[in-house]
Subunit: 458 residues, 2 copies
Amino acid sequence: MENQNIILETTILKLLDEKKYPTLRDILTTMNPSDLAGIFQGLTQERIPLLFRLLPKELAAETFVEMDPEAQELLIKGFSDSELKEVIDELYVDDAVDLVEEMPANVVKRVLSQADPEMRRSINELLKYPDNSAGSMMTTEFVTLRPSMTVGESILRIRRTGVDKETIYTCYVTEGGRLSGLVTVKDLLLAKDDEELVQDIMEQNVISVSTTTDQEEVARMFAKYNFLAFPVVDNDSRLVGIVTVDDAIDVIQEEATEDMEIMGGMSPSEKSYRRSTVLDLFKQRIPWLLLLMISATFTGMIITSFETALAAQVALTAFIPMLMDTGGNSGSQSSVTVIRAISLGELKFRDMPMVIWKEIRTAVLCGFVLSLVCFFKIMLVDRLLLGNDSITVTVALVVCLTLIITVFLAKSVGAILPLTAKQLGFDPAVMSSPFLTTIVDALSLLVYFGIARILLGI
Amino acid sequence: MENQNIILETTILKLLDEKKYPTLRDILTTMNPSDLAGIFQGLTQERIPLLFRLLPKELAAETFVEMDPEAQELLIKGFSDSELKEVIDELYVDDAVDLVEEMPANVVKRVLSQADPEMRRSINELLKYPDNSAGSMMTTEFVTLRPSMTVGESILRIRRTGVDKETIYTCYVTEGGRLSGLVTVKDLLLAKDDEELVQDIMEQNVISVSTTTDQEEVARMFAKYNFLAFPVVDNDSRLVGIVTVDDAIDVIQEEATEDMEIMGGMSPSEKSYRRSTVLDLFKQRIPWLLLLMISATFTGMIITSFETALAAQVALTAFIPMLMDTGGNSGSQSSVTVIRAISLGELKFRDMPMVIWKEIRTAVLCGFVLSLVCFFKIMLVDRLLLGNDSITVTVALVVCLTLIITVFLAKSVGAILPLTAKQLGFDPAVMSSPFLTTIVDALSLLVYFGIARILLGI
């Protein structure tokens, strides 16, 4: 599949160089917009408008939607006014809104000036909704039916008005602008009789979202209900738009990427890796590195305050990395699990007792096994095999006890922090690996030196 | 929304206790199968069959599909043969396959014995495909048309055969079993003339997947092409099934969860957190903790071999956690970014030079800023404010130089490892945080003591 694309790309470039435009057009028209957009991504700046002008109108607009913002901007700047108008006329409103949100101000001005008045009004309407809300995701192009229409009339209406709609498969039934039901094209086609009334076959218990519903929640609803679209209603239950499953897939992927970026200690970015400049990456990463570096100072201070004790028992130093790492890993196992379950809508704050109870039992099991293995490893490898006499049974005990307690603390904190963050309105993903490691590092050292003081008398 | 569900649940339980079955049935029939399955999740074992028998046949089967395997097993065990047959008859083949894959052998035997012969044949056919392949995701219930049919005939065929199909919106055109095109219901409804031939309006360049295509690749194709279904063909280009967008959403979420679990240092699990027992969690977590603990031994050995040097310059110990953490964080930033980009199909092995060049420039920027801040922090806070005289300018220089080099190494390794793993056929996600931390820890200590030896002469 991928090799085929590379061969195709080479062929297209060759034909473009040889100016064999009719052959090129024949090839291009057989292609899918997403694949075409991929070809454009690899072109040099001068060739983009050249190839674009070879596409038939509708395919050109569909390809345009799938392109990177950079290529889109380049094309718009090269378009004549009438070319720009042709592309914009073919866009669905939600795609036009995405475009306007991505482009710099001067380009936006040109886009809006070429959009027809109704499109311009819709774009401006949708731009008012908060970022990442159902309102900003939705499109206003959907099919509405009346309860008193017959099945036959409904099918006729779809055939007459459907061409400009983003989906025709779910039709919404409204009365005075208010949503009162839905019928699918499947319901209409499979209805026994063309004279049946919409109100008799429609689903009345319609699950809808509000314009302010968070896009993550919308995406979760698609995953839960397996629908192709959800209606979006305003505060007065008036139907104002629909969100479709293709946009939900994009949101699901974006949200997962965002969670992973935050868990990896970065500010989330909407740019793909390919499109991110070194400066973008730097800005995304440096604040967290600085913050975490400064926090690690506390860990350093704990070590400093035990400096004399450490100088007396240097053997203890060798176990610091292992204790810190195991603590960090135990904690991030719990936090990652809990954060993901929160993201999928599976865990809520009220599940805290269940989660803590599950985590501490897991922690006890893990801690016990780890320290058992660790004890034998220290006694057999470090003491016997490597002949390090300063490692006594008491030292091994100190290390193993610390291990059990650290795993216990790490897993508890790792489970509690994300749920608490969610409840307080923060992003739970922040409470993962990097942030947690800093806390667990400090905790594990305090436990370590505390136990060492008691058992070794340092 | 959520509160409403809790109120509803309470009402349903109350009506169930009061045996007000007719009222209960009226409420249940207005509900969506996914919400109903949620209600069943909260019920005690005895109540599940009781409530289930109140549902009308079709809704019962739809609700059954959405339930947890535990509840499904419980119900099947309580069903009479005829009840079981009723539910199975209503299932789509792909849902039946999922059921068979989840149930214990004795339950599977009963399920298969109650399925009608055609269903049984289809289930057995689909079970042959490898796990996580398009073949195991697909359903065999789709609408086929012939190229010579007219639009009117096609619509008639859909109306006659569509009721049992998982989707009717994308119809596939076949000749002698081979896939030759597709038409959507939208194409058919918006066709100008009922006498037009399918072969004249069908899309001939059909993008299909093979039965052995990995489900992750299938999910990526849904994200890329915004289709509602993809046809699945066998080695002879014969159409054998379709995969639909609702299944793709589940796969996208599963794959993201799996990546996060691996990045968090756990074996992936298909069970939800709620359904996982303490033993499940333990088994998922302990192998990694043990492996990482043992690997941390090397870090310990590095420290041990510099024990005498450390005893002479105890101040150096205090910076070990900060250096290790910053190295780990820098590395996991890069690895998480690269792993996610690989998962989304954005980066391939051949992009390695581009990735490394981007990462090392980012690393230089980050390392420079971090060490600058670190230098001033050490001189102002540690030396002046806290009055720690053992921290000299040279010590600060050693720490800052180590920082730059560690960040550089961590980001390079963090970028190279996942791409290499992918190329070698391993899961790139394994090369993230926990695993990387162990490598970076050892590297940073070696650099630290190496520089200290040169500059401090220890």
